[in-house]
Point group: C2
């Protein structure tokens, strides 16, 4: 049976490990410096766990690096010599991180936001594959196709662009949700009243382009409302500035 060791027990590892198991790959071990995280994930996928890199099993077919970017190179000092295929899952780490450190390697990058507290349907997560050579690409494609219905090849430069786009679409949107949650009054329903709007905003662009889906005062550059809103943010100059800049960007795009 194909076997794997998972490095990391954070948000990505917590979703990747069960998906691999479901794809028929035996998870031998979970390694994480944090014992509590390692043990929880290991139990979830019926694996052993360790917190000492010297105790990592050497005989696995695959090693998945679902760690902070900076931790990958560090761990490779211990694990690079293992004969299995080394696969990292990071958007902005190039394939060259493995050069001279491991023999067989590649990348499977899941373009999704994962939180431990939430289930994710991994079969809908777009996966981007890169490999040291054609053979590894083909092998990783076979695994990726078992994990998800949406798999693509992307080199390191293309993957970096995907990650950059994801930061705008996901992390920065989520920041805006956070800002909005601070603006709404608890007495008027609080963040709860914004949830249908947030959901619909995301649903609209599943069928309309974002440009076509845009609404609100900035699209028509309604200075009366825009000035009123900026004045309401006078105590938070950072937000007032953000409001003004984003409104101008929306308007410029609406007329271009």
């Amino acid at each position: 049976m194909t076997s794997a060791v998972i490095f990391g027990a954070g948000n990505v590892a917590t979703h990747l490990a069960p998906a691999l198991l479901k794809a028929g790959i035996d998870i031998l071990q979970v390694y994480s410096r944090t014992e509590s995280s390692a043990s929880v994930l290991a139990a979830k996928v019926g694996a052993a766990f360790c917190t000492d890199p010297n105790e990592i099993i050497e005989s696995a077919h695959y090693y998945f690096y679902a760690l902070k970017d900076s931790a990958i190179a560090e761990l490779l000092n211990y694990t690079g010599k293992f004969k299995g295929i080394h696969i990292h899952t990071a958007g902005s780490v190039g394939v060259e991180i493995f050069d001279g450190k491991a023999q067989n390697y590649g990348i499977i990058y899941p373009l999704q936001t994962f939180s431990k507290e939430r289930e994710t349907d991994f079969s809908k997560v777009p996966l981007f594959i890169e490999g040291k050579n054609g053979n590894i690409c083909a092998l990783l494609k076979t695994i990726a196709d078992k994990l998800s219905k949406k798999t693509y090849f992307a080199n390191s430069e293309q993957r970096a662009r995907l990650h950059l786009a994801a930061v705008f679409a996901c992390n920065f949107s989520n920041l805006l949700y956070d800002i909005a949650s601070e603006i709404v009054d608890e007495q008027q329903g609080g963040f709860e009243v914004l949830k249908p709007l947030i959901r619909e905003t995301a649903e609209k662009v599943q069928t309309l382009s974002p440009r076509k889906a845009q609404t609100g005062p900035a699209t028509r550059y309604d200075t009366e409302i825009i000035d009123k809103h900026i004045a309401m943010l006078s105590q938070q100059p950072e937000l007032a500035d953000l409001y003004e800049k984003m409104s101008k960007m929306i308007y410029q795009r609406s007329i271009s």
Copy 2:
């Protein structure tokens, strides 16, 4: 039978008019300066239409203003004398716009993004009610409760804050989707590959707080990735600046 006239045939009117009809209100007429829009919406709800404010029916029970903010005051010069209840639907227009112009008036503000091209389940749209007096508030509450399961009272100041929050949560998020769509490479699947991420980002905050849901390089202020991303945006200084500011805001919030 209770009757209404709708002013406007844009995104809001297109969703409000059928919802009113479904709630048992007879739509007598649709007024819009644009004949093509007026006739389409009128046909949809079995109403007459007009493009001349002098032809507006005087005997309706309700007049709904789903127009650009600046057009409401203008139209009130023709319609204010009508005895029915005048109701606008705007987030950032105060109740005082009716002062001295109409006798009975109020507001029903739907907190949602509407596009003509998309169906909306109006029963899930949060509605915020304000009225000239207690009687009108009660009357509007009865109508609103037929339109939606989520109805609240909010004065003009509270409604303005809701609108401001909505601009951040919806219009600005949608701008970020648009920016992201420009960054992704058509050869790597284009905007399509971002759709599951966008959907999941919005779904996560239905159950987690935005603060708790946040992921990505800015939460850990990973300068290596952040600097790389900013360098990738060097040809678009406006976006590089936006990236840097939003990353700092995310980090500040993550440690506060």
